[in-house]
Chain length 412, copies 2
């Protein structure tokens, strides 16, 4: 079964927004054993949308349309799909009721403009949108299927997983593709590639791909087989093999995240954690609390950006800052110790560094970060020197490095 | 002058890589006064590449092709472009010399595989690639221009700016396009659309587009004129007009961000700020400290996820939590007051809410968030009810809503 995507929106063609929907959908379809053979990006123009639909239908069994379902005058996908299907738009009173309820629930009155979202091409099935106002729709023209979804990624993803995927699984048959991921942290991409050697051969089944970002290395395993069970077994075998080969670099699998892995380890061991952040400004706390239920083990966090806050909130000795500077090994350690004491946790992290762009010196350049980890009253500090690319990147690298140190400590 | 993009690569159609080249090129072209009217994403297949080129040539004066110029067997763009141009591939000994030198400089010997990169369709001009092995090329078929570049973003961007853009400026004549942005926060997209009325007419010049995400509304203004000065004046006029029409919903223009706008206001008024976060877990602190130099006004932040931390770190009365629950108006207020007192700031924010997915009740559902703003010793609380979509979304909405309340307070 072959798929095409059609992404709609002027914002995708003027540099404002990058179309991430095609890549996300292609990945999901790939996992479901469906190959995406092409993608179109078209502006909010009826003729151009209808043209892309026609071209896509020549190549694919199923077309995924995203975008252009909003309430404003530049949202023309409804009409374009109706033109392509050669049907009229049909008013659905129940969608209008849902729309009104959507606004009411939020203490608002529906604007008259939203009324147009209750119109759907005749003969389509409605795909409910719980996260926004634009419902999607699903239909068939001759032997081609069409899924039309809003362009907002969060809304699209939910509709795809809950409404579209079950419909695809009903109509899909053929080769099964199953994929899995092994997640690493620590070495560079080339070190991993060298370790893997010919495991990365393009003709291997499963195929192993490697991508990297901000210190994380992601190995993507893709297995093809006659049935799901065999493919899944091939994936499991490779996961185990890679895990043995790469050792403690491996922090998780599939959709695992460092904060979630740390959360499980903390829970398992009955530990609690506190954070004292300077240069990362709350990012580590934010990442740890991204995990649902993290209130069970994240006790408290401090963003002590100023020296005064480090002193008054975390009891960092003023003399220490004076002697060594705020960005120093002893201050990172004192921050972690202060946080552990105040929050009465087993573990605490203290981070201080130069995120830039200003403030760097020859001795303490932008990108220099000290991470203190306090565990059971003892503290050690790791010095990191990240490339002075940009503030965002340095903060992200520092936060991930801190999380990885916590993981390694917990896994000992 | 109209442009199209053709992005080539299997990795763009299996979820591995998101095509960011189209969006980047479209932005650059937009700034140069050239409208991108469509984009194609195609796999590494000769027929499909040639097909996309043919379709693109029907719509555009100039086509930008990226990807498929590597040394491996799946890199077929050279041959596909030659087919489209109806010419043969031609061997360039000087490219081969450059390739050998490229590897030599890095202490390596060129692999025989790279030899194919010295072949270019006959009649094309070579576009030098200083960052990688694949040269790009530039050519003309009838009155259509074609720029073919490697897919690696860093290589493509350099070739575009250094080699392609000067060629475009030579052939480009006619209309100049200038764009600007007005950034709003507060109302829904449809409310703004209603307020704008026929200002959003598709035939208007400047054209006004509207997109939204997490409570932010972005109005994109696009002006066409005979020269840059006139177009820029049209943009300025519309910015002023929209600013008057939308009032305090407007928080900024062009590349402004809420945290940066707040930073400027705090600096202007000589104010400082402290944060007390529960459900947002450090996100507001993180966003405010995304801004370089924010250490001048962000004094301290607390992530008081647990009740104990709220009580011990922010002096929230235990009785208050017992009587009203941690997610309540008085607790949000007490958190803000506690933070302001401890950090000795003029302004403080307290946020407590249900980020989910678990923990919601009928009375206090997931998505319920209280934001307390303390200013000059006085405190007020806003109750927000966000759709219970997912944890990330609720936390982001809550953080932005809190930042917007701070902005409104500072703008009074």
């Amino acid at each position: 079964m072959k798929a095409c995507t059609v992404s709609i929106g002027n914002e995708l063609l003027n540099g404002q927004t990058t179309d991430t929907n095609t890549s996300w959908l292609a990945g999901r379809l790939f996992d479901a054993g469906i190959i995406t053979v092409g993608g179109w990006i078209v502006p909010d123009e009826i003729d151009r949308i209808a043209g892309a639909l026609k071209a896509a239908a020549e190549q694919a069994d199923i077309i995924f349309v995203t975008g252009g379902l909003g309430p404003t005058d530049d949202d023309l996908t409804r009409q374009a799909v109706a033109d392509y299907l050669e049907v009229e738009l049909e008013f659905h009173p129940n969608i209008l009721d849902d729309l009104k309820a959507f606004f009411e629930k939020r203490g608002k009155v529906m604007a008259e403009k939203n009324r147009c979202q209750a119109y759907v091409p005749a003969g389509c099935e409605i795909l409910e949108n719980l996260y926004g106002t634009a419902p999607g729709f699903w239909c068939q023209k001759e032997d081609r299927f069409l899924a039309v979804m809003p362009g907002v990624p969060a809304e699209m993803k939910r509709i795809f997983d809950k409404e579209v995927l079950p419909r695809i699984q009903k109509i899909h048959s053929g080769f099964i593709v199953v994929s899995g991921k092994v997640r690493c942290f620590g070495p560079g991409e080339s070190t991993i590639a060298q370790k893997l050697g010919n495991l990365m051969d393009r003709s291997r089944n499963p195929l192993i791909n490697c991508t990297c970002g901000a210190g994380e290395i992601l190995l993507h395993i893709v297995a093809q087989a006659q049935n799901r069970k065999t493919a899944a077994e091939m994936i499991d075998r490779d996961k185990k093999m890679l895990s043995t080969l790469l050792g403690e670099w491996v922090y998780g699998y599939d959709e695992d995240s460092l904060p979630a892995v740390i959360g499980s380890l903390l829970r398992q061991k009955g530990h609690t954690i506190a954070l004292a952040e300077s240069c990362t400004g709350g990012l580590v706390s934010k990442m740890l609390t991204d995990v649902p239920g993290s209130s069970d083990y994240v006790m408290a966090g401090w963003v002590t950006y100023s020296n005064e806050a480090k002193i008054s909130q975390l009891n960092v000795p003023a003399q220490l800052i004076e002697n060594h500077g705020a960005v120093s090994e002893p201050v990172a350690c004192a921050m972690a110790l202060g946080a552990a004491k105040k929050a009465e946790t087993d573990i605490a992290v203290g981070i201080t560094g130069m995120a830039g762009p200003g403030g760097g010196t020859e001795e303490k350049p932008v990108g220099l970060v000290y991470i203190g980890i306090c565990m059971g009253g003892e503290c050690f500090v790791e010095e990191c020197r990240f490339p002075a690319t940009n503030r965002d990147f340095i903060r992200r690298r520092a936060a991930l490095a801190a999380l990885n140190l916590v993981r390694l400590q917990l896994q000992i």
